[in-house]
Every structure is written in structure tokens, then in C-alpha cells.
Symmetry: C2
Subunit: 524 residues, 2 copies
């Protein structure tokens, strides 16, 4: 935006504010609340939406019934400036209401929603890179309030910038307590729910927690369905029309929150009463109803979903095996041409189940393998606890040793080029940005030196020439140290494919596992 | 089929034959040739097809103009018994001709076309397993006739049961000779082709070679487009309507041959004048025009095609890297839920290009990695030659050491369960059929013994119990020996996940690379 436009926008905002028009930040939530009918079943009977306009830009957002005669419609302006709106409804009191408001420039911590960037990566809408580093607390928001507050405090102090959690409560090993609220009236016996109405307090609480996550900059990866119910409440086996109505209601309530991601399901294929085609329908509903095209994926148990479907924005993958080598971790990028997030690679912990007893070293190892493969990885923690509070399901405090190492990894990534890490062809252990930045991960190997050798960048990108200089840092990814190798390294062509140091120098290593080497090109 | 039906069918066939009706084998080619118009441009002006009926079964096949006033329509009956037909055309002489013929039971070597079987594998239409073992001679059929005959003789004596080759001639390193024929009249300068007519002799020759391959049981994996023209003739940059007409013509001519597979392209993404959407259109045309749903895939250079598309029957993949470990070779099965054929994994040879200088050991190693991953692999050979005849492009004779080892692999597979080899969960080096057959490939490892340990089969399949017995064979995949380990091995549960030998015996190994171990369950 040129300075004149910025000035105009500023003046315009001042004028609007002076006139008393409401205002929200760009990518904030504008909400219109109107009183409407209370007779019959408002969830079924009343259609309510609003169209928001700015110049030729026009966005329709569905509203929703929030109980006690109040109807709301929410809108996330993706551009600053003046917006006008007009409602539409089959209820006269809600129809044809119009108005306007100003979207002001975003505050410094507001970068907008996260989007796919450069095919395999993410960035906020304002272009700020987003290096995904997620964790999982499936039903933290349905635990007693003090525990929820503790979880929020823990997250704010952690390296994590995304959390996966479920809309519906969970009934599973280590998760047999009832939630503080239920999503529908009736119950708690599985046969008594009234799926034609929503418990608005449940969803009000859910969206408050989404807002609470937004403050410390944590993305909410919202899991819409999951199998960990098995008929206990029956939310995993609602009739199709109840499923679809539920999805529309959640999207209407939550889509205007900028930190929302949609995960259609956790372990979709373990939901015995649903078919693959049901999830295709769910994906089509969510992607159609969400005016802002939030990130959307689906997580599997044993059978990978078809992540090539066009409405899937990134591949959310469960695989402990794929991240055991960087070479294997690359493959999903090639098959899907989308960002790859290994949202579940098993958890640091000590429970008997095979998926919940990784050492911290092993979990951090998997993160690094994913990283140099140009993919992203997810954390979870399952340490047994007398109070039955395992981070992975309920939140609370982190007890493991991996989060500190993941904070170290995050610092490395924040310091890497804004374009992120891409695989370097034919060099599975090496990621980076060809020509200017390389990250080599040695994993469980324990060499005592590393030959300084860099493959010639592919045609079309940054090129090498004799005399270019690199700095070399030796990273101990477990002990979290960075040691600068003495002196710069100066390139000299060795053969058609490779450049080495002009004096043939290599890099000394301590003979320990979990070492990485970082090469940064200096401006000559 | 019950005996009464077989008898009826037999009698019926005898009666038909006695009446003098034409007959062809089930899965053979019935051909109707009619004289029709020669004026104008018959390739453009005349529509000609026939509908073939047997009871409620009705199949429409497009005909084609074969020059000199002759129009042909071909049909592959997929069921034995009497078939009737009626033609349709905008030319009066070709319209409304009807008749009937008998499809007789197939001869012993005729198993019908190859189909996908059990999601990840192949079988002939009659149920006979088909263990894919392919090679590549891109333009063998456009070389001088004696060389073509030599290629056919070599193939007949080889272990290969599929060959990839191109419809269009190739202009590329080691391939700069002109073809014996051209597909269109005009030329050979790129600007002179008449893309509105076909050179029928070119396609007559092509289909003769497809038939010649059928005799020794070799599937013809026909590559419809390729980039190795670069404007030399311009067949890689025809107008869209010429592309589409060409596809319809090839399918009309060839689809009735049972050994046909379609490969939309070799290295589709290296065709600079085509877009991904062009290949989607090509795939839709071929799958729509082919009445028999022959196997259909597409081969890539650097960018994998979307093999999740519904009309793609199997994933044809180029990757040397994926088959360097069995673990990585598994991943494409999970992403596509289709058979995975590594049609190009680089070639045995000694040319300077990186893709053409594998050792025979390395190529065979890659085949075995693919095999225990439940996938299939492809062969090619690029040994330099004074006569410029490299197998990979022109055919001729095989000079390498891998074919003998691939014949050994084929014997192992032919001896394995008819269901084929599937990966064994959590054991990357192990493939087989859980509970009854295991193939463990040790690759470049050189252990001197192997602990006899088998993972407990997953729930739902064959189960283990103490006392079950297995035989153990040690396979030297390079030296092609099979050594039976002394005595049987008797199962004893070791822990929740594993069974071992009751006496704790292991298997001695020679400490050499490229060993495999084959475990077969005995009927107790």
C-alpha cells in the first residue's frame, strides 16, 4: 500500500470513529446481534445470514441462534476500510437490517489467519512466516476450569503455536470423566439427546477458549469428529442430517476467528458408523460454508485419506514410521503437493500403549527428521499421573523433556530464511534453501567430523561460484548448544555436482547423536 | 460355472461352429471389416461404431478407418457364448449392419486382460495371479525389422512379462535415427504433417507388434505421449484436437487386444507444451473410449501426477530413491490405495547419465526392496554399444547381469501365495501374507545369523498358536541359490507381539549382502 493510501485509510478510520460507527481490526471479529423469534425451534426454523460488502468485494456469512432470542452473525474483514452489510432471513425481525463499520489496521500481534505459502509451507495472511509447531490436548477445554486455566498458562510459556483439540468430549482410556458441559440438550444417556437443538453454553465456552488461544498466538486446530465415544454419548453416530447441521452451526459460530483450522476428524477411519464418503461430504460442507477458507484437513488412523482432494489445504498425517528417516518423511510432499504436517508421530511418555511411550530423544529426533524433509511435526505427551491428567488428553502441565528441545528447534527455524526449509535433492539429511542456507541433520549417527560439501544448486535458483563464503554452526539438538566452527568456509568447485571448502577443511563433531549442522551463506 | 453350464456352452459352440458362424476365443479379437466411403477425409468425416450384445450385456466399440476404403471395428468379448452386433454410422454403407459370432472358451495360455486385484496387486481376468516384472524398450518397434525380431526373441526368453514402449518415435541421446515409419502423412519436417489423417501402415505395424508380444505372454504398456521429440517432429506439440483425435484412434484400434495397458505419458511434466489439465483430459478420453477398462496410468519426471484420480488404475512411479529402502517403498501404497509399480528406478548400465549407470547388484537390490514392500519394479538397461543399440531405447539383446537375478526373483514370487506379497506391519524388511508366508530381505546388511522371530498376525487373519511349524529357506538373491535350513521351526509365543522357535533356534547366514529369508507355514 502506498503512503497516500495509508494516510487516506487512517483519515477515513478517524472520521468513521468520530462518527461513532463501530470498528474492528482487520482480521478481527465483527459481530451483529439481533433479537428474533423464540417460538418453535429457532435452530431449525430460522434462516439468518448477512452479506458484507466493500467495493466489489462481497462475502456472505451465515448467522446462528445463540439462545434467549438472540441471533448473531460474525464476520472477519480480510481488508481494512469501510464495510457495509445487509441481513437476510425468513424471520421479519432479522431480515434486511443494514449498517456499516470500519475495519482498522491490525494491531502488531495480529497477522491474520494462517494460509498455505509456497506450496509446502505456511504464512500468516500478512506474509509473516508461520513455522508450525503443534501439540495435542484432545479435550482440554472440557476439563474443570482451573485445569483449563493451567493449560492456557502452560501453552503461553511453551514453544507451541498450534493445538489440536476436539469439539466433542472424549471417552477413552485416561479420559473417562464427563465433560463440564454437553453439546446438545438432553442426555447424558446416549438415547436422550435432542440433536435438533444445540446447548449454546457449550459453544460459547468453546469459542471463548478459541479466543483465549488467539491471545498468545496459538492456532486452534479444531477436530470436528472423532471415534473416542464408541456410543457412550453417541456423538460419533448421529444421523447424517444432525452431522451436517452441527457442522454448519460450528462453522457459523467459529469461522470468523482468525486462528481457526478445521480438522474434519481424528482417525476418521476408526469411526465405525461413518464411511469415507461421509467425510467427503463433511469436507465439502465445511469448505463451502467457511467464507474465509481456513486451513482444512483430516487425520487418519490406519487408512490415509485422499489428500489430493482440492478442498484439503494440507496433509495432516499420522505416522511414526514416516519420520524415522528424513528420506521417507519427504514422500508425502511429492504425492500431495501440499504442506505436510505429521500431526501424530506417537507421544513422549510412559504409558503401556505403543503409541504413548516414546523417549523425549526419539520424539525430538522425529521432529528434526520431518524438518529437514521440508515437513512439520506434532507433539504430544503421555506421562502417567496419579491425578489422571495426561497432557495429550486433558492439558495441565508439561512434564517431559522434549518441549525445551522443540523450543530450541523453533529458534533455529525462526532464524532460518523466511521461505522455510525445503529438501535438498539427492541429500536426504539436508534441507534448506538451495544456494543460501542448509540444515543437515545427522540423527542417530555419531561421526566425529563432517566433510564440508554442498551440492551445486539446481538451475534456475541462486548459483554457486568459487569464493563464496559460508559460516558453519554445529547444533547439538539435544543439549541445545550452538557452536560456531572457526573461520568462514570458502567455496571451491570440486566436481560437476559438488562444492567443497577451498582448503579442504571439514567440521569437527563431538561423536554424539542428534547433531545438526547449519550452513549460512555470507554476503560476499 | 457349473458343469451343466459348461456342457451347454460347449454344445452351443459346436452348433454355432457347425452353422458356420465366425468364432473367436473369449478375450480374443473379433473384427468386422466393411467397405465404406473413400471421398473427402474418412478420418474426419465418417463416424463408425458397433454395439455388441449378449443378453443384457451391451458394449459399444468405436471403429476406425484403415485405408483403401476399409473400415474396421474390433471387439474383445469378455464372456463366452453368442454375441450379436449392429453397426452405426453416418455413412449408409456402414450403418445398420448386423450379425453374430461365438466367443469360445479361451485356450490355455489366454487368461484375459490384467486387472487390479486385492487393491494393491494384479491378476488376469480369469483369476490367475500376475506378478508384474517389466522392462522398457521405448521405441523398439520403430527400429529396422531384424532388430525388432531379435527383441521379440530376447523378450520371449527373458523373465519379463511387461514392456513399456512408445507409440511415437523418439529423438533423444542414443536415439537419433529416424523411425521406419511415421504416424501421419507429410513430414518428416515438423511443419509438414497432416494431423487430420493417420498413416494406417504405422498403426498396422504397431498393432502387429502388440500381437507379437501377446504370444509369449508379455503385456504391452503403451506410452501415448512423451517429451523426447522436442519439436524434431512435433508430435509432442500437436494442437489439442489432434491430440484427442489421435487418442481416440489408438484406442479404437488397440483396445480389443487383451495385453494392452495404457500409459498416458512418459515424464508428463517434462512435456513443455502440455499442462497437467491436458493429461487429465487425455485420461478421461482414454478411460471413456476404452470399453474394457484396461489398466491406465501415467509416468512422471519430477512432479508426481495425482494418482488418486479415479480413472487411474495403478500408480506408475519413477523413483530411484523410494526403492532404496523397503520402508520408503511402502508409502505410495498408503497414499494411493492402488497397485504401485516403480516403472523407472534408474537402469543397469554404464552411460554417463546418472540414471543409466546402476550396477546390476543395485538394480536387483531395488527390485527386492520394492517386492517386500508389496510393490512392483521395472527394469531397463543402458550399456554403451558400438552399434548404438541400447536395450532401454531400441531393444536387441540383454547384456546385463540383472535379468538372470530377476528370473530368480520371479521364481520366488511364482512360488509365493497367490495373494502376492503385502508389507508386514512394523517390519519394513518383511513382506508376505501374515500367518502363512514371509519374505525377509536383508539388502546390504551382512549378518551371520537371523533370529527366527515372527510378529503375531493382526486380528482378523490367520492366527498363530504354539506348535505351528515353518520351513525356512535362505535365498542368496545374487548368486541365485536356495538353501533349506535344517529341520522345521516350531512356534512358541515369546511375548504379546512375537513368536519365536520353541528351542530358540536362529538361522545361520553366510555374512554376505543381498540375502533373503523365506518362511513357509507347514500344514500341521
Amino acid at each position: 500500500m502506498n503512503p497516500a493510501r495509508i494516510l487516506l485509510l487512517f483519515l477515513f478510520t478517524v472520521v468513521l470513529s468520530a462518527r461513532g460507527d463501530p470498528s474492528v481490526e482487520q482480521w478481527g471479529v465483527f459481530e451483529l446481534a439481533l433479537k428474533g423469534p423464540t417460538n418453535g425451534n429457532p435452530f431449525l426454523d430460522v434462516r439468518f445470514s448477512a452479506r458484507f460488502k466493500q467495493g466489489t468485494n462481497s462475502v456472505e456469512a451465515n448467522g446462528f441462534y445463540d439462545g434467549e432470542g438472540v441471533y448473531r452473525v460474525r464476520f472477519m474483514p480480510e481488508k481494512a476500510g469501510k464495510w457495509s452489510y445487509r441481513t437476510a432471513s425468513n424471520a421479519r425481525k432479522l431480515d434486511g437490517k443494514s449498517g456499516s463499520f470500519a475495519a482498522t489496521r491490525p494491531s502488531p500481534s495480529n497477522h491474520g489467519p494462517v494460509r498455505v505459502a509456497r506450496t509446502y509451507h505456511f504464512a500468516y495472511a500478512d506474509g509473516t512466516p508461520y513455522e508450525e509447531l503443534g501439540t495435542t490436548c484432545y479435550v482440554w477445554e472440557w476439563q474443570p476450569e482451573p485445569l483449563q486455566e493451567q493449560t492456557l498458562n502452560t501453552l503461553a510459556a511453551s514453544p507451541f503455536n498450534k493445538i489440536r483439540f476436539c469439539v466433542f468430549p472424549k471417552h477413552y482410556v485416561w479420559n473417562t470423566n464427563e465433560p463440564i458441559l454437553y453439546p446438545f440438550p438432553g442426555g447424558p444417556a446416549a438415547t436422550n439427546w435432542d440433536f435438533t437443538r444445540f446447548n449454546v453454553k457449550y459453544f460459547q465456552h468453546l469459542e471463548q477458549r478459541v479466543l483465549d488461544l488467539e491471545k498468545p498466538g496459538i492456532e486452534a486446530d479444531i477436530i470436528l469428529f472423532h471415534p473416542y465415544d464408541e456410543g457412550h454419548w453417541g456423538f460419533d453416530r448421529m444421523p447424517a442430517e444432525a452431522d451436517d447441521r452441527y457442522l454448519r452451526y460450528v462453522v457459523a459460530r467459529l469461522a470468523a476467528y482468525r486462528n481457526v483450522w478445521w480438522s474434519l476428524a481424528n482417525e476418521w477411519d476408526f469411526m465405525k458408523r461413518k464411511k469415507e464418503t461421509d467425510f467427503v461430504r463433511f469436507g465439502e460442507i465445511v469448505s463451502h460454508e467457511d467464507p474465509y477458507r481456513h486451513l482444512l484437513s483430516i487425520h487418519h488412523g490406519a487408512k490415509l485419506f485422499n489428500h489430493n482432494l482440492p478442498w484439503i489445504t494440507h496433509a495432516s498425517i499420522q505416522s511414526g514410521a514416516a519420520v524415522q528417516t528424513p528420506a521417507r518423511a519427504r514422500v508425502f510432499r511429492d504425492t500431495y503437493h501440499k504442506p505436510v504436517v505429521y500431526d501424530e508421530v506417537q507421544y513422549e511418555g510412559n504409558i503401556p500403549s505403543g503409541w504413548g511411550r516414546l523417549s523425549a530423544e526419539e520424539l525430538v529426533f522425529r521432529f528434526w527428521n520431518a524438518t529437514v524433509a521440508g515437513a512439520y511435526c506434532g507433539h504430544g505427551e503421555t506421562y502417567k499421573s496419579d491425578d489422571q491428567v495426561l497432557w495429550w488428553s486433558k492439558g495441565g502441565v508439561l512434564k517431559g523433556q522434549s518441549p525445551a528441545r522443540l523450543a530450541f528447534l523453533k529458534k533455529v527455524l525462526d532464524d532460518a530464511p523466511a521461505e522455510g526449509i525445503d529438501p535438498i535433492d539427492h541429500h536426504p539429511e539436508m534441507g534448506g534453501q538451495a544456494g543460501k542456507y542448509y540444515l543437515v541433520y545427522l540423527g542417530k549417527q555419531t561421526p566425529t567430523n563432517w566433510s564440508f560439501e554442498i551440492p551445486k544448486p539446481p538451475a534456475g535458483g541462486l548459483q554457486f561460484a568459487d569464493g563464496l563464503r559460508f559460516t558453519v554452526d554445529v547444533l547439538d539438538t539435544w543439549n541445545m548448544t550452538v557452536t560456531r566452527a572457526p573461520g568462514d568456509f570458502t567455496l571451491k568447485r570440486r566436481d560437476d555436482d559438488t562444492y567443497a571448502d577451498k582448503d579442504g577443511r571439514g567440521i569437527e563433531l563431538p561423536g554424539k547423536p542428534y547433531m545438526a549442522i547449519q550452513l549460512k551463506r555470507l554476503k560476499n
